[in-house]
């Protein structure tokens, strides 16, 4: 079957060969339970702790500061709800932004129902939150600031280090969802001043169902699931040793190759952006021009429904997305674009292209060949879903 051109790496990525090899090796040779005392258990424990150390090294953390989880969503839940429950005696106020991933927004909404108060900070036209807005929102009872590192729909990179500085000065715990940023831009937890940071393996050519939460030493967290004493009592359950090893390999490779992959992605993105702007009229780029991930491009095509473009591209073998995968299929225009002040009609006329390491210039050229024709045909048809 023809694989087509995959431009949806912000949704997920294929597992790369080296990661699969690492996974296979542990799967086939190290089956022990890392909690067991015998040699089989010790072997597993060794792989587990090595993996933890390798992940920690990539983000400038200590090994014991890494909690393995099932992925980004669980990490966000553990960070946000875990902090809220741990610090509820101290305060009940949480600061976040309007453009977070649903994993964060829905955690906050659930906490609101439990009596916590949440401030949803706005963003500017580039999808960026300003550090002074964070500053102004802090109250005596603020216990957590959670701001995503890079936005999954627009790629905009938030001023995490500045916010981290503010949080530190004010003594507020700071969490960032770095699921999209890890492996694409340098990430160092000390330079960023974060206390909690969510990561996911499948966005960086690792398997699904594995990720991690960085927890700075001394940060109080309440577990969400009860069981044994695994993962510092924060995340019980027999460790997913093969998954952890695969995650470690994935983040290691992503970190090692960051300079070259960034160059590759930036080049492709520039070609794609330039090509679209050259060949198609009435397009608008959504997101930050400078502070942006090298691999995400969000574009609105005035007068055309994003979903209609997506279908057309897919039938021609090009996979892109409208908004994030989690909100695709929703009629509502993207909450991220709306928060940026993009008109609802333009928000519904948007596509997200997210590039990856296997994409080539030929593939980008191919997209540039087919896209203008699709857009102009849909514009001729006066696509009502976008016009309505």
């Amino acid at each position: 079957m023809c694989r087509g051109i995959y431009l949806d790496h912000a949704a997920t990525t294929p597992v790369r060969r080296e990661v699969q090899e690492a996974l296979d090796e542990v799967l086939s040779s190290t089956f022990g339970n890392a909690s067991s005392i015998h040699t089989f258990g010790q072997d597993a424990k060794r792989v587990l702790e090595e993996s933890r150390e390798r992940v920690a090294t990539c983000i400038g953390a200590e090994p014991e500061e890494i909690i393995f989880t099932s992925g980004g969503t669980e990490s966000d839940n553990l960070a946000i709800r875990g902090t809220a429950y741990a610090l509820k005696e101290k305060g009940n106020h949480i600061i976040t932004t309007a453009v977070e991933h649903p994993a964060v927004l829905n955690c906050c909404e659930a906490l609101e129902e439990e009596g916590f108060e949440v401030t949803y900070l706005p963003v500017d036209m580039e999808c960026l939150v300003h550090p002074e807005w964070v500053m102004e929102a802090i109250r005596p009872e603020t216990i957590l600031i959670t701001v995503m590192f890079a936005n999954n729909e627009t790629g905009s990179i938030q001023p995490i280090a500045e916010i981290g500085g503010i949080a530190r000065r004010k003594g507020v715990v700071f969490h960032t969802d770095a699921v999209q940023a890890v492996g694409k831009v340098p990430v160092n937890v000390d330079e960023l001043g974060v206390d909690l940071m969510s990561m996911s393996a499948h966005k960086i050519y690792g398997p699904k169902g594995i990720g991690g939460l960085y927890v700075r030493k001394g940060t109080m967290l309440h577990p969400l699931v009860y069981g044994g004493h695994h993962e510092r009592n924060l995340r019980p359950g027999t460790e997913n040793v093969p998954g952890d090893a695969a995650f470690a390999r994935a983040i290691e490779l992503a970190t090692e190759e960051l300079p070259s992959s960034r160059k590759h992605l930036e080049l492709l993105k520039e070609r794609l952006t330039g090509g679209i702007q050259e060949r198609i009229e009435h397009v608008q780029r959504n997101g930050a021009l400078d502070d942006c991930l090298p691999n995400i491009l969000n574009m609105s095509f005035a007068g055309v429904d994003g979903e209609a473009m997506l279908l057309n591209l897919d039938l021609m073998g090009v996979a892109v997305s409208t908004g994030s995968a989690c909100s695709s299929g929703a009629t509502e225009p993207s909450h991220v674009l709306l928060a940026m002040g993009v008109e609802p009609l333009l928000a519904q006329a948007s596509l997200r292209f997210s590039l990856g390491r296997d994409n080539t210039e030929e593939q980008v050229e191919r997209v540039l060949e087919v896209l203008p024709e699709i857009v102009s045909r849909l514009r001729d048809l006066g696509d009502a879903r976008a016009m309505r």
């Binding site: 209609a308 039938l315 299929g329 009629t331």
Partner: protein, 382 residues
Amino acid sequence: MEIPDSSNRQRPRWKGSGVFLVHRVVVAMSGGVDSSVAAAVLKEAGSEVVGIGLKLVDSNKTTGAANSCCGIDAMGDARRVAEKLDIPFYVLDFKDVFRTTVIEYFISSYLNGETPNPCIPCNEVIKFEELLRVAKGIRAEYLATGHYARVSREGTGRYLLRKGTDDSKDQSYFLYSLSQEQLSQTLFPVGEMSKRETRELAARLGLRVHDKPESQDICFVEDGDYSSYISKHAGSRIRPGPILDESGAVIGSHRGLSHYTIGQRRGLGVSSSEPMYVVDIDAHANSITVAAAGRLRRQKRILLERMNYVAVAKPEEPIGALARTRYRKPEVNATLSPLDGDRAFVEFHSPREPTAPGQSVVLYNGDAVIGGGVVRRTTDDQ
């Protein structure tokens, strides 16, 4: 009126005609056996088939019966069929437009004392306008559905909408409001099959949905309980009011107009020596009028609005036709007299029990739909 012999020369056929489609066709796939077989038949005939499922109601809530076309499991069934047929399949979210064009119409119509038929605007707007536009957007030449009806092109260039070959399953009643342009882009692959043939074909093709039960009632109303659905969604707009007898005397009170339809006998809550039936619903006065069976007014003539003509352009003179006043109800002889604008009178050759305002009346010549319209409430019933 004369309707020429149908001729399918200009249109693709798929039943033993030897003419194979090579076009891209979008099939509206509900997960039911009919649309699944429609997709299968077109695929077998050599078309490039793209399946599209429509999300019409919020699937987070358990609305929609399991066997309805917008139920939760339906999209999963449709996806499995598409996989089996090896065709691309997409689910599109039409909740917004469905709510504004079908559900709100349904509710406001009931609140106006009418008895609406939501399947008709659903076909007209959701499938043959919105989905058809999506189909054209992906360069499909046709939109196909699993309706039991047929479309054919006449020598005159006019498109006829005809009954499905299986008279017991014929669904042309729900499709009378399609325009010529819509019909020209529409295919009904199971229109020439019987339901039994459809199920057999589905079984032969190994489609698991072959023995799926028929969808029932109105897809977005759970358990077919319209009045509580409307109460839930219209809330304070439903007000109790008086029940009147034919003389206008108050003999009871009703729970809100949406609980009643013309001809209804049960649940009136008025005590009387003989069974009473609803004979009129007056939204302005928020009242309903009831009468005993023996004194039920027979209806000789009804006024239709929003007329759509299919087999003919709007006629200058009255024409004879067979009128169907409800899905599956036997047709009766009538005369159709077009009025100004999109209104028309239908005169029954023998008076009959009243048809509720909001219902559609479809006029046939043989198996061809002449046209149809929506019954308007009149006070001049004979």
